[in-house]
Amino acid sequence: MATELQPSLEDLIGIEHCKLGFFKELRQKLKELKASNKESEQRRQEIAAILDGITDIMMVLSEDLRIISVNHVFHRLLGVKNPVGRFCYDIFRGERHPCPECPAHHSFLTNTVCRETAIFTIGERNRQFEMVASPIQNPDKTQRRILIFKRDVTMEKEYQAKFYQAEKMATIGLLAAGVAHEVNNPLTSISGFAEGIKRRLSKIENKDVAGLEDIEDYAATILKECRRCQGIVQALLTFSRPKSSPFSPLDLNVVVGDTLKLLQHNILRIKDREINLRLDLCESLPLIYGDESQLKQVMLNLLINARDAVEEAGGEGSITIRTMKAGKDMVQLAVEDTGCGIPQENMGKLFEPFFTTKNVGRGSGIGLSTCYGIVKEHCGEIIVCSQVGNGSHFVVKLPVNPEQQREQPV
């Protein structure tokens, strides 16, 4: 230390050292400040860009849940003019007190990150939000703040529900295929033996055997029911493992027309009265690619259901069949009825196999599930809207070019 302090002759002369002036200092300070200002401005812009990139609602709240600042998403979604200084619960709920489930409140209490989901009505629409509240660490602990993110998860939840549905259908489909396969073999035996009995009966025709007519009758019934069962099994197999027969260009209007020709006289009648059927077909409908017979089956199922719904509602009612373009790449087929409608609790089960509300003997419960499988195979979508007492509305959306749809999964 002592030697370090020891100056030299050169130090005393100090050629390189002069009286330091404030001007130089000031200029340096200015330069430094400008540089650091530029740097912090750049950083600010970067951070602003990052914040602008956030698509969630972002708010900073004070301890009494007043809004201190919000991001542009807040303005865009809520359109509240001057949110700063107002209470969060006032803006989102129109309440005078904090909401009991408020994550910001919990976050303040526990000083931890809190999550919560809640439904807010925004612009007359219910939207589901996932909220994350995290305390902002402030070096001076005097004013605590909370940062809140609100993410609109309405769409996600819808997709999630669809995904669960698809998952369930796939599982049930496998089960159904297994059951159908196993049932098919004994069914064939039963049917074969019933045929045998019928043949034997014809050989002993002239002999007077008591109850012979009854036996003939029984055998015929067995065969009839066997055929019915085979039909069901076939339908089940179609639903679960649809044959991928080569698709061909199709006009959806032709499918509608052909199906109606087949059915009009048999099915679209209730107690000898024709159902009021309206057709609203788009004339310039683009062609789709698909399996004509399968799509006819879909059409058929939807029509039968509509007819049954109208009948259930007393027979007075109408069915409307529409075809139209849906966006650039889709066409849709809608079957609307003014029938009894579907109760809310049944909506989730509509496409499950064997789910039916019809009387025993009227429906097997695999019609809609078959439809679901077919539409899925066509890369399409089937949507139901229904209101009890007012009727139901089934929409089948099909892509104009399913191959393209496959490459770009939604």
Binding site: A2, E4, L5, Q6, P7, S8, L9, D11, L12, I13, G14, I15, H17, C18, K19, L20, G21, F22, K24, E25
Partner: protein, 380 residues
């Protein structure tokens, strides 16, 4: 010849020039100045005078006077606190070496922060100091000219030399009228100090034509004027001593000092003796010690004292020293070391400290510890 440097403050010289103090401070950007002085200067009324001038010019001030002769490190901290609390800008000091050195210490902390001993040594001040305006009240210390600042480190019991060109004040106002109120003792002590500055810087290893000229001017002015100034306080004589002191200050600030000041600093660090009164004791012995190293220059000094005489330089030098000692005796100040020290027990430490002093560096003849011991013994 090595490159040298000559740096001095702006100098305002003349009777009554104290009147310019407020304008000078204002020109340097003063809104609220820190005014530093000591109780001695207060008693003579000059602090009041400066305050009046500041008031008349609407310059605010805060006043700090906790300064001893040989200013202490803690006094610098106290002064710095006053400066910071008052949010002062320009520093004005009026006084002898002590208030001015204290002011320099405060200025270093104001511009650079830290502890004052961080800056011990040469050129360790890295940031600008607040503007400084100094008014010397003793024709001697030269602190109002110099790049030196001497602060006593209480814990280590030594005088720290802080050397930096930034310590040269912005403006030095030298008003000979101020000397009129000085005590006889103070006038002598200051003049002897100035004489010592002149002699040591004249023979310094880094003396330049610009410093030697000033040194000789001081030497030539002090001997004839000191007696007159002491005897009848003639303003003319006091004015000449002011010029001499200023000239000596210009010289030693740029050329440095020598062994006499190195020993004087070690003495001042251990014993609280008036700096100026150490030189009549030490200077003649140091001059004797230095003569073999620079006979020509010492001869020149000798002839300044005894008058032009045709003789070898060494003879003129030694005769000059003899005459100088007689002169000091006539002034009735202590001339032997035994007059100011209780015993010789401190010689070892004194010599050791003197060897390490920055002033020893420029002494024309290298002085080791043994040399200092011998000098002390001869001066006893």
């Amino acid at each position: 010849m090595q490159a040298t440097k000559f740096a001095i403050p702006e100098i305002i010289f003349g009777r009554g020039s104290i009147i310019h103090v407020a304008q000078c401070a204002k020109r340097l950007g003063a809104k609220r100045v820190l005014l530093i002085s000591d109780t001695g200067v207060e008693r003579s009324g000059w602090v009041e005078r400066v305050m009046d001038i500041l008031r008349e010019n609407s310059v605010e001030w805060v006043y700090f006077n906790e300064v001893n002769s040989n200013p202490r490190d803690y006094q610098v901290y106290e002064g710095f606190e006053v400066y910071t609390e008052a949010k002062a800008d320009v520093i004005i000091a009026i006084g002898g070496g002590s208030p001015i050195d204290a002011a320099k210490g405060i200025a270093i902390l104001a511009g650079n922060g830290g502890r004052i001993n961080d800056y011990e040594g040469a050129n360790r001040v890295m940031r600008p100091l607040p503007p400084m305006v100094y008014l010397p009240t003793t024709a001697g210390s030269g602190s109002d000219m110099s790049q030196f600042c001497i602060i006593t480190d209480v814990a280590r019991q030594l005088k720290m030399s802080i050397i930096s060109r930034s310590l040269v004040p912005n403006i030095s106002i030298i008003d000979p009228l101020i000397l009129l109120t000085k005590s006889q003792e103070l006038i002598i002590a200051s003049a002897v100090d100035a004489f010592s500055h002149a002699v040591e810087s004249y023979v310094s290893r880094i003396a330049s034509p610009f410093t030697t000229h000033q040194a000789l001017l001081a030497i030539n002015l002090i001997i004839p004027n000191l007696m007159r100034a002491v005897e009848d306080r003639s303003i003319e004589a006091l004015e000449q001593l002011s010029i001499a002191s200023t000239a000596a200050g210009m010289s030693f600030s740029n050329a440095g000092l020598g062994a006499a000041h190195a020993l004087a600093h070690s003495l001042g660090g251990m014993f609280d003796v008036l700096h100026g009164l150490v030189h009549p004791v030490l200077l003649p012995e140091i001059m004797r010690f230095n003569t073999p190293a620079c006979p020509e220059k010492m001869g020149t000094i000798g002839r300044c004292i005894i008058g032009d005489r045709k003789c070898p330089d060494e003879v003129a030098a030694l005769e000059g020293i003899e005459r100088l000692q007689e002169f000091f005796t006539e002034l009735a100040v202590p001339v032997r070391l035994r007059d100011i020290l209780p015993d010789q027990s401190s010689f070892e430490r004194l010599a050791g400290a003197a060897v390490g002093d920055a002033c020893n560096l420029t002494n024309p003849r290298t002085a080791g510890k043994d040399d200092f011991l011998a000098i002390c013994e001869r001066a006893w």
